[in-house]
Amino acid sequence: MEYFALLADGFLRIWRLDVLLVMLAAIPFGLIFGIVPGLSGLSALAILLPFTYGMEPLPGLALLLAAHAVVYTGGSVTAIVLGIPGSPPNAATVLDGYPMARNGLGGRAIGAALASSGLGGLFGVLVLVAVLPVLEPIVLLFGSPETFLLAVMGITFIAVVGEGTVEKGLIAGLLGIFLALFGYQPVTSVPRFYFDSDYLLDGFRIIPLALGLFAIPEIVGLSVKGRSVAQRGDAHVRFSQVVEGVVAVFRHPLLFLKSSAIGAVVGVVPGVGGETAPFVAYAAAKQSSRTPETFGSGEIEGVIAPESANNAKEGGALVPTLAFGIPGSAGMAILLGGFLILGLEPGPEFMREHMDLGVGLAMVLAFANVAAAAVMILFAPWIARITFLRGHVLAPLLLAVVVLGTFASKNNPMDVVYVFVFGALGYVMKILGYSRAPLILGFVLTGAMETYLHISIRTYGLFFFTRPISLIIIALLVLGLGWPFFKRLFARWRRT
């Protein structure tokens, strides 16, 4: 009862003029950083962080959290309309969102993506609110072995997320794993394959890699062919098409709930990486679909799954951030800096003393997700029209945005060079029919897998996987991978 009173109090807390004003300023800021490729949520937070100096805790944290929460909502639109992930976690949305846009269904895809983002964000908040009183035991369920096994679970999906053959998916995934091996290795404190170059000392960066792989081949395609992204359909996108996309989410409630739950759980486990959740949700959706073969050619379920997971994971990521001050995602690491700047120290004591602030933050997350989705839905018909712009108009604009976005992410000209290096790789992969999504998945998970395998063996020995939660993850892994086989077996059993 007392907790419900706290929830009500937290809900009322955000209806303060200063909190509302900072949220209203932060939401468009975060959306723009999501829409423009290269300008990730991390850049948005890094820019906003100095503004929190001298602010009160709730408005200061609301500024950061609201901007961060909506970045992926903005990024989903770019992934669908241009086939370029607005931010790296939107890469999974490209797989089916972009083919939908090419089929003239951009409005529908955007509607589905925005509704899933907004509702997925709300789901993440519900998870957070539900576990706020028991944050610590929840976080303590997941140790290094569980983090390692979740990373393994993610990496096993490299064969599933591709649109080509399983072999090609595996080859692309292995290439991603190989690229992730470059640079400084935290366990041994030794840099690998760095060729005496300062740039490679820290390995390849995700932004040039994701943008190069996805953006450059599309830009080349648009300029060579000169045709628009949408190859059929009416350039006058109607609002009803967007609403159809929104309604589609409600027509797939189980898919939405499953994907959001995956997002929230991946968010709770620090170390797995924010980019993983949408891929795992996408792969799970494909595995359980009656028509998995249609994924990759413009299936709306392939948009709903990654986008629900993408925003739901931020609610989950707040769990370890508040419970132990361990950031659940890269964005949460900067948010944690915001806490410290504002004189707050997340951790067990923090939750005992500032539970009201925790609830207030959950409410900020909920408001930002819903408001951003609503605003974007209103503009969606106009945004979808971009897909009908002619290629020779769109390509140079895109190239300029990609180059500037990449440079601005770290102010490093070498990043721009690598966008073109990875662009060439992406182009060759596209021509040869290799999916680029498994490469990204292999790349983002390798570090976590390597590090937590090392820690697990050092701390628990070779049988580290026998802890209860580890066994559950292994069971889910076997079930997920063997789902098509089990389905066939079950069908045969019923026939006989």
Binding site: P186, F324, I326, I334, P348, T459, Y460
Partner: protein
């Protein structure tokens, strides 16, 4: 007569030198006014290094008229930022708030990717340095560090990386006291291995005194010793390693050596070859900022204490760590820190 002439000559020389030096300082002040200065840190936005840097920037801009561009350059185990500062143009317009322990260790161990010589760089001033504290968890097989030194069950220390301060303290202590230890590296930061410690993955950690204070609240982590000759102000009841053991000269050497590492702490440094008057000017400005009572109070409130030390002291500590060890000793330290506890 002769004396008068000599006195007169000396007066002229001293006046000329004074004039020259004040003219140099004035020139340096004039040089910085209106320029853009890159202030680098190996920390990510929002972290400890970043907070120190961003709190200093407004004061630095106000005092010098310079426009400061903050640059977060994490990566390469904090070596990347030192490399970049070392290779920057020698104009005094690039400074670094460095991770002293990681930078010193990188050079001492000839770490791959370390392309700098701290002995040629210009120390400007120390922002903060803290004593190291060893903490045990409830799951630790020992209650005290003395028991651990006698015991046969290995202690499991959690650290972020081999060249990190948390590892230097854990390995040198284990070696000096003959503790059977096993080090687990790879945790992303102190908070993550504190979580691992509470979960029982590891049962000992070595942290700075302020972090130890934070994480020992609630009693799940117990501070067992301070790795210094004097007690920590934050833990007046915790005995130092020198109080708990009758250390031989050789054993004491490891702890003194470790303290010299920690002395550098978070310090500001510029690359080599910067004109002396600009270095002197920056040292003067930072001394004023970091000794300002109001600023110190403000930072203490933010749990980011200032413990200023001047360039001469930092230079001495750097020489003690890098210049005072023989080739054989260096090899031994490398073995202790990088290999001995990782089998």
């Amino acid at each position: 007569m002769k004396f008068d002439r000599a006195l007169c000559f000396a007066t002229v020389i001293v006046t000329a030198l004074m004039f020259n030096s004040s003219a140099g300082a004035a020139d340096a002040a004039e040089f910085y006014r209106g320029k853009t200065l890159l202030f680098m840190t190996p920390g990510s936005p929002g972290g400890g290094y970043d907070t120190y840097m961003r709190e200093i920037i407004p004061l630095l801009e106000k005092k010098t008229g310079v426009t400061v561009l903050p640059v977060n350059e994490p990566g390469g185990g904090h070596l990347l930022a030192v490399n970049k500062t070392y290779a920057a143009a020698p104009d005094g317009l690039t400074i670094l708030l460095t991770d002293g322990e990681a930078s010193l260790l990188g050079q001492l161990l000839d770490a791959p990717g370390a392309r700098y010589d701290l002995l040629k760089m210009n120390w400007i001033g120390r922002v903060n340095s803290e004593k190291r504290v060893i903490l045990f968890t409830k799951s630790s097989p020992y209650k005290t560090i003395v028991e651990a030194a006698k015991g046969s069950t290995p202690l499991k220390f959690g650290t972020t990386g081999k060249t990190d301060a948390t590892n230097i303290g854990a390995t040198l202590t284990s070696h000096a006291l003959g503790i059977k230890a096993s080090i687990v590296t790879g945790y992303k930061g102190s908070r993550e291995f504190v979580r691992a410690a509470i979960q029982g993955e590891v049962n000992a950690i070595c942290l700075s005194e302020s972090s130890s204070k934070r994480f020992s609240k609630g009693g799940r982590l117990t501070p067992v010793t301070v790795l210094a000759r004097e007690r920590s102000e934050l833990f007046p009841d915790v005995a130092t390693i020198f109080e708990q053991f009758k250390l031989s000269d050789d054993q004491a050497w490891y702890f003194d050596y470790h303290e010299a590492f920690a002395e550098i702490g978070r310090s500001i440094v510029s690359g080599p070859g910067v004109p002396a008057e600009r270095v002197a000017y920056l040292r003067k400005v930072f001394a004023e900022i970091l000794n300002d009572a109001e600023f110190k109070k403000h930072m203490a409130k933010k749990r980011r204490p200032i413990s200023y030390a001047d360039a001469a002291k930092l230079d001495k500590s750097a020489k003690a760590v890098l210049g005072s060890v023989s080739g054989a000793r260096k090899k031994e330290i490398r073995h202790i820190i990088m290999d001995k506890y990782f089998q």
